[in-house]
Assembly symmetry: C2
């Protein structure tokens, strides 16, 4: 009646799983739709930045040699011979003691080598001709943004797998990516199991709970960078379950089921895996919550059997599904980012197995402080609301004192870790 | 020719601006569309969690008093009288030395007060009747998740203004929010100015640069929680500009223009504001980059005149537009979250004005380290790619040594600060 399972360490489970991780496909999208996606190719500069010597200020372009003798007591007068707006090019020769009015961002005329800021000049007119007076000297190159000083043509400015944020959007536009090669989002199916589950719009009934996982997981999928597809709830008939899993799998890149993975009489997912001929990578992990997390492999696709308990389901997703999704998106650091932080509250429970505690990371004068977000049982939904991190407590420890350094996994980060264990 | 402007401190500019901040509107969306939005009302528990005493494990529900004498040497036998699946209710009386098979999540029968985990029992059958043997004693309440132990009916689990992440989605589902009151996204118009601007799909031309701001700002708007609406580029005719600004404003909640706010001859936005009768709140801020950032007010709506330089535009958005957007979304801490971090590299430049340096925040053994992301001129686009923070360097300082604590504003955070200056 009771199937005996051998728990494997979390690190081993992740390692087994990552052998099946693979890069996904590339697709081209219009620049305005690239925000929030992941680069499928390195982003390279297609030209120098700036692409020409330009003025960082409003002012006058001059020849610095003409200012050598300028001082407060001996201002030097320049004849203003023209104006250069941003985007236009001045082709005339600029001679000795001549100046050209230049706008921010405009190209420096070939014969000039310095810019005098508007505020440092005294403009005047004589017989309809404009002049300026300058009261200090300038050196060759003063107030010029030189071609290529920010970025050289060919430079890689962001690696493939990078999350496209506002800064990357600016770079893509600057380098003429009107179409952007982005990683196709992996489509991840979700099937719920559990006769105790009510939908969000159903009134509560004795013994029943509302189904929260099928709303939580799509949000986790979205945060990881994938696309969720919900296939509804399985019923209790084994044959129907098998065909539902098989059919759903054919429409997605990977499939998540919630619940049905324990060793209880009504937990029939192991039977489904067996009947379908799926190869089970592991079905018990030495961790809390989520010890029953099961991963199997069928038709070159991964099947994730997450626990039906919301917190166990949450942790199972972040540890096992997320790195597969981020790898699909070409990310080189697909795991949750691991950092050290100071425990803000004692955690007195012993940890026979590695424990992942939902927590809130805060900052105090340059230090990272992490505290559990309230109640910590694997069925707890309320502690998930504030959580932006998971505290990792090693198995075989008796409890942790406030003030100890602990490992923390960040939930809302785009950088990631290569290998967190 | 040169308009003289008096720069005001950043804190004063933000304070002036926030006098015009207001909460936005509420709208109802289906739960599956609520992910990534902001709560418009507090999220309250509509029932206790758990809503009944339930079993956290697969096992057997018993009366603890029957186990008092159980030990390794004196196992006690219980008659198994039934099975309770998750979601079903057991209504029969459980008598002395009787046990009921119970699944994870199922309701504890009224007459039982403890659960024995499956692994701690030895099942056997006699004459077709199932029995279990128990080798230790259990106390009243052992292995029971009691009604309300996670959350009590009526408890506020998340405040309005909270970003809806996977944990909040789980709570919304649990508490039956099939429709969710979320903050309507403010619609923010964008108009570009600048004759030097090429579109992303145009080949480079002498003196011209590609327009990156109109792709960067929508991404910043999206990250802040708003919705962008691009109205194209203004041309050089003042009357046409005025009607374009006026017309665009009527379709949005607030309007951003990029460029055209300097004191140069071609920077005509001040003239537009004047002609339209907009009240200018400030047009010069004692900060770098973005000193020319201008904010005006017309027809009860804000007009943000951001610099045309990408980095100045970026900083101007985050300091001035973001808190208006987050307030609109009912967030109580609308400003960028401010933390302290250790400067990872010296910053030798003097800071006549408060300076915002694009930077990358990293973690080192529980400490926060922040380093500038390369080149720092207000036109720099390349340094924006990696930036997840802005270092704040106070005005009137001579430079900062590596190892100094500095103020840092987080760009990718959902918590926010009440008042960062």
């Amino acid at each position: 009646m009771v199937e005996r399972r051998t728990p494997i360490p979390v690190g081993e489970a992740v390692r087994n799983l990552m052998a099946y991780a693979s890069f996904g496909l590339k697709e081209m999208v219009a620049l305005e739709l690239a925000d929030g996606r992941y680069l499928a190719e390195d982003l390279a500069a297609d030209h120098d930045i700036p692409s020409f010597d330009r003025s960082p200020y409003d002012g006058f372009a001059i020849r610095s040699e003409d200012t050598v003798r300028a001082s407060k007591d001996h201002p030097i007068t320049f004849e203003v011979t023209g104006t250069i707006g941003a985007g236009s090019v001045y082709r005339d020769q600029v001679g000795p003691f001549q100046a050209v009015r230049i706008m921010t961002g405009a190209e420096i005329p070939k014969s000039c080598d310095a810019v005098v800021m508007l505020e440092l000049t005294r403009p005047f007119e004589e017989d309809g001709q404009a002049y300026i007076e300058i009261k200090r000297s300038f050196k060759h190159g003063d107030n010029i943004s030189f071609q290529g000083e920010e970025a050289r043509k060919g430079m890689i400015l962001a690696k493939r797998g990078t999350y496209i944020n506002p800064g990357i959007m600016a770079l893509l536009a600057t380098f003429g990516y009107s179409q952007v090669p982005v990683a196709r989002k992996p489509v991840i199916g979700i099937i719920a199991t559990g006769s105790e589950l009510l939908d969000a719009n159903e009134p509560l009934k004795p013994g029943k709970i509302r189904n929260s996982n099928t709303y939580m997981i799509p949000s986790q999928i979205q945060r990881a960078g994938g696309e969720a597809k919900y296939f509804g709830k399985l019923n209790d008939d084994l044959d129907m379950c098998c065909s539902a899993v098989k059919e759903s799998l054919s429409h997605v890149d990977m499939l998540i089921t919630t619940g049905g993975v324990s060793v209880g009489d009504y937990d029939y997912l192991p039977a489904v895996y067996e009947k379908l001929g799926a190869a089970v990578l592991f079905n018990k992990v030495a961790m809390r919550p989520g010890s029953v997390t099961t991963v199997a492999h069928l038709d070159n696709k991964l099947l994730f059997g997450l626990s039906g308990n919301p917190s166990a389901c949450y942790v199972g997703f972040e540890l096992f599904v997320r790195p597969i999704v981020r790898t699909y998106l070409f990310h080189g650091k697909p795991h949750l980012k691991k950092v050290k932080a100071i425990l803000g509250e004692s955690f007195p429970k012993p940890n026979p197995f590695m424990r992942f505690v939902r927590a809130k990371l805060t900052y105090d004068e340059g230090s990272l402080i992490v505290s559990p977000t309230g109640f910590d049982k694997s069925s707890a939904v309320s502690s998930l609301a504030e959580a932006n991190a998971l505290i990792v407590l090693q198995g075989g420890t008796r409890g942790y004192e406030k003030g100890t350094y602990v490992d923390v996994l960040l939930l809302e980060d785009h950088q990631g870790s290569e290998w967190p264990w």
